[in-house]
Amino acid sequence: MVNAVGREMPEKIGSYTVRPFAGTGKAAKILPPVVSKRCPKLGPEDHNKLCKDLKEAIVKTGLKDGMTISFHHCFREGDMVIGQVLTAIRELGIKHLRFAPSAVVNIKNPSIVSFVKDGTIDRIEASGIRGELGDAVIDGLMDEPVILRPHGARPRAIETGDLQIDVAFIGASSSDEYGNCTGQIGPNACGSLGYAFVDASCAAQVVIVTDNLVEYPCCPTSISQQFVDYVVAVEQIGDPVKIGAGAARMTKNPRDLMIASKAADAIAASRLFKEGFSFQTGAGAISIACTNYLAERMEERGIHASFALGGMTANIIEMFKKGLVRVLECSQSFDAVAARAIAEYPNILEIDNSVYSNPYTKGSMLDKLNFGVLGALEVDTDFNINILTGMSGEMMGGLGGGPDVADGADISIVTIPVIRGRTPSIVPKVFTCCTPGESVAMVVTEAGIALNPKHKYYEMLREDFEAAGIATVTIQYLCDLALSYTGVPKPIETTDKVVAVVEYRDGTVIDVIRQIKR
């Protein structure tokens, strides 16, 4: 069958039944009650949840073959929790687990591939996969397709029962012996634990893994003891350098700076750029530069933002300190400065990923967002975005919050160079559709800005750009330009085997990824 963005897909993939994407805002208005595997339970008699090691905790949870385990990605590439837990599970001989982390986790030593090969894991649900695991999956490593969901779709899937978690292993940079824990303090602080809240409240059992046991009660507390079954202290939960040691530096790449500056100009030209506006810019090189340019435009015009949302970076903290933004809503902290800031300032808040991005809460913060700046690997002439697969079809990234922000923000801005090396980024048709074009307001490149004529705010943006003297080009022009530089690439050949399913925010399938023919 073919979905609303013209993607062909089978009706059933392994045991997965496809609900085809039907367009944005087409989902059911009322859904059944929230599903949670959490059970009422008496606290331990000795008032202590500490286990001597991971194995003891795993045995106590009763983890069995075929169950579902989850992790968060707040330690990013510095995560050392997943490797240790999976190794302990392997040594206990538990098999056929469904592995459901909140995002792409690219752990190398041990590699996830080895846990798939020995049967410890046989299903994966995440926001993306890459590196060795990505290559192996695209070459047909797994029998069941990997299910990829954007950030907002994961809590939806958990609360609707699509993804039920038996045991959530939550890394925390500080915890007490009763499970009150946080990512804000401790030697391996990661900042917001935003992605772990839904796991804590919906998993059947919750194990906190820390390397910094603190005196009861842990303060500040992000995840409360009431959700926690067991606590394990290990030697190390993360590599602080890879968690995000310092502030990301401003790029010096003139092309990226030019794109960032144009994006800030586009925002500043909009009538929505006014006192009390809100924004989310993200953590890519262009995004960080765009944040800085945006701060300049705000200072020039004397405009203040009500809030900034999502993953926080040091330069947004800087804007906050200057009084340019009233509240920072952090679902993730991308660097050490942002990680520490939550504990230091009352207006910098740690938020649950669900309130950030889940379309099926009684209101997510994205509903209130004016401007969202997004990165992409490819954009096509229908404004569809690919953030998963690279030039040769390889798995390159994760969905992250991109599809959520595009849909939620009034004005979503894709910042992207027209070519990267010999790879065109504005193409006739993206290899993998992750974000539907109808939710994308504009594409900003070094060669011009293209407004999406099908976006709900097109007329308003066109008027505002005209008034500000900002010229635009068509997306077709950008695509032709890119291909004139690179030449037309040979299409990627695939087999019929679907190796990954790309879900949209509402749980429908926006695209599938097929095995690459080699």
Binding site: S392, I419, R420, G421, R422, T423, Y485, G487, K490
Partner: protein, 99 residues
């Protein structure tokens, strides 16, 4: 014409290509490509290299490309320079094809 010496041009920077042309103990133009976009542009890259070799009447050579995503015009320029260096001649800017 057979190549007697080796010529190298280009760098391993992103968007560049390092072209090495060497004498071929066998006959013909033997092209070896290392590139992340070989599946998409491998054929075009071969064509470009062959056409440069034709320009210089080179019949026997080993050509190695270490490509970092160079555009076609970059590849052509690097290949021409590598051949000029191997031949010990300057590029003829006035000529139609550099000879």
């Amino acid at each position: 014409m057979r190549l007697e010496n080796t010529g190298i041009a280009g760098t391993l920077e992103s968007s560049d290509v390092m072209v090495t042309v060497k004498p071929n103990p066998a006959s013909g133009i033997d092209i070896q490509i290392e590139s992340s976009v070989i599946a998409q542009y491998g054929d075009e890259m071969r064509e470009t290299v062959k056409s440069v070799m034709q320009e210089f009447d080179i019949t026997d050579a080993v050509v190695e490309l270490q490509d970092k995503g160079a555009m076609d015009c970059v590849l052509r320029a690097r290949a021409e320079t590598a051949v000029c260096r191997a031949l010990g001649v300057g590029f003829n800017w006035k000529g139609e094809d550099g000879k």
